[in-house]
Amino acid sequence: MAATRECNSAITAGRLSKAIEFLDAAESLEDDKPNAAGDLFVDAGIAASDVLCCIRLGIHSSSGSHNEAASLLSKADKGSERHLSTLLSLKNKAAYTHQSLSTAERKKMNRAASHLVEAAKRAIAAAGPST
C-alpha cells in the first residue's frame, strides 16, 4: 500500500501556491542557473501533482517512491503521470551526474511542470477549492 497523507483545504491551497511559485522561479532562473531551475521545475511538478491527487482522491502521496507517486497521480488524472515521470527521471540525471541539464532537457522539464500546474489549476476550477 502506497504511503499517502489526507488532504484538507489548507494543504491543497498551500501546495498550489507553492507549485506556482516554484514554476515562476524556475522560469526566471532557467537561462542563468539551469540546474537550480531544473530542481524547481521538479518541485513545481510534485506540488501540482499533490493538488491533483487532493482534489480528485482526497489524499496525496507521502512516499519517497517515484513510482508510487506516479501511480497515485494516474488515478487522479490519467495521462499526467508521464509528465511527473519526465521530471523525476531528469531530476535523477541532474542530481547524480556532473553534467548540466541541456537546453532541450530544460525545455522538456518546463513543458512537463507547466502542464501539471495548469492541470492542477483546472482541477480546482472544476471541483472547487474546498478539498
Binding site: E6, C7, S9, I20, D24, E27, S28, I55, R56, L57, G58, I59, K75, A76, K78, N110, S114, E118, K121, R122, I124, A125, A126, A127, G128, P129, S130, T131
Partner: protein, 221 residues
C-alpha cells in the same frame, strides 16, 4: 452553471456531486474518502446516495472485511453521459481554446480568471476572460483589424453565455497597454498570472510582460 458543480446542470442534489467524484477517477472510494473530497456533505447523506446509485447499477459496491467501497460502473449505459458531464469544465476550456485558435496571431494571450478559474463559481457568476491583442501600429490595415477584433470579442461574449448560461465578461488589453497596466501595479494582472487558466498563448509570455516591472519595483524598495 457552476464549473465546480458540473452535474448540477441536470441534478442540483448530492447525487450529482457524488457522481462527479466517482466519474473523475477510475478508482474505488470509501464513504469517508468521498466525504473528504466533498467536505460539506454528511457521511449518512453520501451513504444514502450511494445506495440509490448502486440500486440503479451505475455504481459498483464492494465489501472487503468491514470496508465498503464504491466505484462508477463504466460499462453502464449512463456512465458515458455522466463522465461527459463531470468533465464539463475541461470541455468548456477545450472549446474555448479551439475557438480562439482561429483568431490567429492577433491574439497574444487569453485566460479565464475570477471565480470560474478558482472553483468559487455560483450560479450567477460571470465568466471573466482576459484577452491581449497584438499591437502592430505600423500596419496600414490596423483600423480594419480593430473592427474585426471588436466583432470577434462581441461574438466570444455571446458564445460563452450560450455555452454556459453565465455572462461572458471580457477584459481587453493590447500588448502595450498590458505593460503600462503592469507598471501601474494593476492587481488584476498578477491575479491572472497566479490563478488564471491560460486558453491562448502561454503563461510564461504573460509573466515575461510582467517580470521587468515587478523586478524594477522590488529593486526600488
Amino acid at each position: 452553471m457552476q464549473f465546480n458543480r458540473p452535474l448540477a446542470t441536470v441534478t442540483p442534489t448530492l447525487d450529482g456531486d457524488v457522481l462527479a467524484v466517482l466519474a473523475n477517477s477510475d478508482t474505488a472510494f470509501t464513504i469517508t474518502q468521498i466525504q473528504r473530497i466533498l467536505t460539506t456533505a454528511s457521511g449518512e447523506g453520501i451513504r444514502k446516495v450511494l445506495t440509490r446509485l448502486t440500486a440503479q447499477g451505475v455504481v459498483f459496491h464492494d465489501q472487503v472485511g468491514r470496508t465498503n467501497t464504491y466505484q462508477l460502473n463504466t460499462e453502464h449505459l449512463a456512465a458515458e453521459p455522466i463522465i461527459a458531464l463531470s468533465r464539463i469544465t475541461a470541455s468548456f476550456l477545450n472549446r474555448l481554446e479551439t475557438h480562439l485558435e482561429r483568431w490567429g496571431e492577433v491574439l497574444k494571450y487569453a485566460a479565464v480568471f475570477g471565480s470560474a478559474a478558482t472553483g468559487r463559481m455560483t450560479l450567477d457568476s460571470d465568466i471573466d476572460l482576459l484577452l491581449v491583442r497584438s499591437t502592430d501600429s505600423d500596419n496600414p490595415s490596423e483600423e480594419a483589424n480593430l473592427v474585426a477584433w471588436e466583432q470577434r470579442v462581441t461574438e466570444l461574449g455571446r458564445l460563452v453565455t450560450a455555452w454556459t448560461g453565465n455572462d461572458g465578461r471580457v477584459v481587453e488589453y493590447t500588448e502595450n497597454e498590458i505593460r503600462e497596466a503592469a507598471a501601474a501595479g494593476e492587481p488584476l494582472l498578477s491575479d491572472v498570472a497566479r490563478e488564471g487558466l491560460t486558453v491562448a498563448g502561454t503563461r510564461a509570455w504573460l509573466n515575461r510582460q510582467l517580470r521587468p516591472i515587478r523586478e524594477a519595483r522590488e529593486g526600488a524598495l
